[in-house]
Symmetry: C2
Subunit: 278 residues, 2 copies
């Protein structure tokens, strides 16, 4: 803890039309996030997840009623210290303004602004893990966050997003990830860039397929195994499936012919985990 | 096709303050759905899923621009016939009013009103299937719908909702179910009613547990097997787990200690399916 005289003096915002409020509010929009290179994370739990792995927000925004609780709330106090020590900005405001920023009536009492990070394929170390998750044209940010969370659970090397997917830095994806956005590497690439990258080293590409395929149970998985699921309504393009090393299918006993994309990825990833004894 | 002179004469609504519009709009709210005993289903795909298993809406609402397409659109035409033959009401309106009813800017071009059905435990036939899904205090309607969809895929006898869960008849749950709301039986009960019902016949209750438990892989599952998952943030109450016949756990290789509830249920259900060779 810094000595009291070194403690940060929070900036206080009371006006809805304050430029910082406008800036933060704009981060709800993907286009603005990309322009700013920043994203907003809501809630103490997620912010603490981030802090615990060394991700410190550039800016911390606290609602007044909870700022008072800061001295009593050890987790929040530690977060404030971490932001302050890292040279970040600390802002207090009203619950109404924080609600306006996050767009939620029952807003979290604290939010943080982080720099987005590089999501290039070059960052990935394919031999770091036996399992990788790959999603193509995954449109639902909740599904994306859920896949990050599953990726954490199975010890995946990362989640690779192919073609036009939801934004991993959207509030909904971050929330559904339950903090995994901070721990599971995420990469974004077009198929035309992904495939050459994959083929430049070891790696088995396995498609969760709705077409002719072998049963997912007992299939010959090999590490590093890249588990590929397709778009929520279209599944994988045929040409993508054809480029895979293995096409597997799960039993479908009902009337429908497909599972939720995040569910399919998880069932398959756990099967790979069991097979590889990873 | 009925002869032209027997074809239904749709009622046409052009006013936002029309009582039918108000009634339909109110169905977005759970309290109103319970009072009316009806729910709204949006989109031709879901309505066709319903029709194909004999569920016909009491009322069909079509946006004008698409009504014209009805004669050319075989699926919609068949639906209109089915509603008409069943004595249901057919209403045409403007795209704006339909958007107001559904609360979505890009509204579907057609919506149907169904009577809710009985969700009592007494309706269930436990020997009808080797696998059943059970969720306790599942709050997210998307997770609920996803579990219905998974239930369809694994051939589950049904989804049993314990304690205070999301409403299976909400628009979000229905949409996430991808039509499984119409094919997978759903029941609602308090734990205090569920447990005696379960114990009144054969049935193995299996908890997806975060606590001391055996590995989910290779656990001694037995039909009819009831796979129980807990609330999104709290998991299952300890007393509920204690009442289970088997507690199983999935590998968690990362920093988090849990999976998304619908994902956990699916991974477990597919393991049960593989084990029982169902």
């Amino acid at each position: 803890m810094p000595a009291p005289d070194l403690a940060p003096v929070p900036k206080h915002i009371t006006g809805f039309s304050n430029p910082t409020v406008k800036y933060l509010r704009a981060l709800r929009d993907k286009k603005n996030r990309k322009r700013a290179g920043q994203f907003l994370v809501e809630g103490l739990r997620l912010l603490e997840d981030a802090r615990s792995v060394g991700r410190i927000p550039q800016m911390l925004v606290m609602a007044e009623s909870n700022e008072r609780a800061a001295t009593g709330h050890a987790v929040l106090a530690r977060l404030v210290d971490a932001v302050s020590e890292a040279g970040g900005e600390i802002i207090t405001t009203t619950p109404d303004i924080l609600a306006k920023i996050t767009g939620k009536e029952n807003a979290q009492s604290v939010a943080g602004v982080f720099d987005e990070w590089d999501t290039g394929l070059a960052r990935l170390e394919r031999n770091a893990a036996p399992i990788w998750l790959v999603a193509q044209a995954l449109r639902d940010p909740g599904n994306l966050g859920t896949m990050l969370r599953t990726g954490d659970a199975v010890g995946a090397g990362g989640l690779i997003l192919i073609d036009d997917c939801a934004d991993p830095f959207s509030a909904e994806a971050v929330r559904a990830s339950m903090g995994a956005i901070f721990t599971v590497p995420v990469a974004q690439a077009r198929w035309e860039a992904f495939l050459p990258w994959l083929r430049s080293g070891p790696g088995q590409l396995v498609a969760a397929s709705l077409r002719k395929a072998v049963p997912y149970r007992g299939a010959p998985y090999a590490a590093p195994c890249f588990v590929l699921v397709g778009n929520e309504s279209q599944g994988l393009p045929e040409a993508y499936e054809a480029a895979c090393d293995l096409r597997v299918t799960m039993p479908m006993r009902g009337r429908a012919d497909s599972l939720n994309a995040a569910v399919a990825g998880a069932v398959l990833a756990y099967e790979v985990l069991a097979t590889l004894g990873a």
